[in-house]
């Protein structure tokens, strides 16, 4: 049975898994952005915390994803079997590029432009919203893009703890030594990653132009 036949026969299930996958990646990236961007901004204001926060995010990044999913299962509230646990793990992975790019984007703003803003009487908040964030937006978005692309791949492992997504086909295929099944999960995941990369890259370039 080739992959096209497979999809034809299992269209409903495949679309469902794709949907789960999109939800896993979408929610986790949004949550990571909601945490990571303010954290990155905070680091630019409190550079002393930079080492600790980036270091911690870095350590999270190095935990093998399958192990992290496993570690989370026994935890109360955020753990257990299912999508919620998977989203927590995906958020942890997505944080580093978002925090780091927010921090480097803002600290990369031309000091002369920042000083001009201060010299004209901008308060810190005004400087942030009117100058620093708009000028660093492409770099921050690049962080979100990296987080999304990595998230699409990592989310396939979420199937291991019953969170669904395209990983279901991959794990099932590995267990039954069925290449078609593995491809049925891996191919759309790869396409999804490419699509997300291209789409966010487009937005990023548009931001860079202005």
């Amino acid at each position: 049975m080739n992959i096209i036949e497979f999809y034809a026969r299992n269209a409903r299930e495949a679309i469902g898994l794709l949907g789960q996958h999109l939800v896993l990646v979408g929610i986790s990236t949004l949550v990571a952005a909601a945490i990571g961007m303010p954290l990155g901004v905070a680091l630019t204001r409190r550079p002393r915390w930079r080492g600790a926060v980036l270091g911690l995010a870095n350590v999270f990044q190095t935990i093998p994803s399958l192990a992290l999913f496993g570690f989370l299962i026994p935890l109360p509230f955020i753990g257990g079997i299912g999508a919620r646990t998977a989203i927590v793990a995906l958020v942890v992975y997505a944080l580093l590029p978002i925090i780091r790019n927010t921090y480097t984007g803002i600290t990369g703003v031309d000091p002369a432009v920042r000083e001009a803003g201060l010299g004209m009487g901008m308060r810190d908040r005004e400087l942030l919203w009117l100058v620093e964030l708009p000028l660093s937006a492409p770099v921050i978005l690049a962080g979100v893009r990296i987080a999304t692309v990595v998230g699409v791949g990592t989310a396939t492992i979420a199937a291991a703890i019953g969170a669904g997504g395209l990983g279901v086909y991959i794990f099932r295929g590995v267990a039954t030594v069925n290449d078609t099944l593995i491809l049925a999960g891996a191919l759309p995941a790869a396409l999804l990653a490419l699509l997300a990369d291209a789409g966010l890259g487009l937005v990023e370039r548009r931001l860079r132009r202005t």
């Binding site: 002369a112 001009a116 201060l118 010299g119 004209m120 202005t210």
Partner: protein, 243 residues
């Protein structure tokens, strides 16, 4: 007699952790209609002196007075919004249109949009830029000279009594530079503001300054009219005049 617009009283500044003072015991007073050209070599403390006025740096000793009030007693953003600040061309916000750049302080001060817009158009006209042509452009779409005009217009937006100019024409080609210097001189008379103009170019200082303040190693070693400057026997004055 009314207080001068700007007065520095024995102002010194040393970077934290550095013993040597970058600015040392500088005193001068500036009235409306006066332009003090702060002249000096690189690293002589000219720019630092300007930043001590708008509190981008805080004096380690001495006091700065603006219109009879100590700047240290004023709220820092209010102080800065009341002082026009012109820096080299990089000071324009690259993501703001000309109109948004010029209208920045009015926007921060929450002026009604119509009033801010009218002010922007008035100022662009004043600095020789046609508002209809330039208001919607971005800084990268302007020539160096046009950018500098926008910088001057922006500093004038809230009609501040004092203007600080930090080598405003430093990055321009000689022809444009001479053109802007001439126009600036005409503008000085029209505006009647107190100005502190930092430059390392002695000809520029003599052209735009009603007085010259010469800085050397953080000290104000000469303060006087352009004629007194030309006649001065101070070695640093001679060095600049011979250059």
């Amino acid at each position: 007699m009314s207080a001068p617009v700007l007065e520095l009283r024995a102002v010194s500044y040393a970077r934290p952790g550095v013993g040597r003072e970058a600015v040392s015991g500088v005193s001068f007073a500036l009235d409306a209609g006066e332009t003090l050209a702060l002249l000096g070599r690189s690293g002589s403390g000219k720019t630092t002196t300007l930043k001590l006025v708008n509190r981008l740096l805080e004096p380690t000793r001495g006091e700065v007075w603006l219109n009879g009030r100590r700047t240290a007693d004023l709220e820092v953003t209010a102080l800065r919004r009341g002082i026009g600040y012109v820096i080299q061309e990089i000071g324009l916000f690259p993501h703001f249109t000309v109109s948004a750049n010029v209208g920045l302080v009015p926007r921060l001060e929450h002026w009604p949009a119509a009033r801010a817009l009218a002010r922007v158009r008035e100022l662009l006209t004043l600095v020789g830029l046609d508002p209809d042509t330039f208001a919607g452009r971005y800084p990268h779409q302007l020539s160096g000279g046009q950018r500098q005009r926008v910088g001057v217009a922006r500093a004038l937006a809230a009609d501040p009594p004092l203007l600080l100019l930090d080598e405003p024409f430093g990055a321009l080609d000689p022809v444009t530079r001479a053109e802007l210097q001439r126009e600036f001189r005409a503008l000085e008379g029209k505006l009647g503001k107190a100005m502190a103009f930092v430059t390392h170019d002695v000809r520029e200082a003599l052209l735009v300054g009603t007085r010259i303040g010469l800085m050397q190693d953080g000290r104000l070693v000469f303060l006087g009219t352009p004629d007194e400057f030309r006649a001065s026997a101070h070695p640093e004055c001679r060095a600049f005049l011979a250059a």
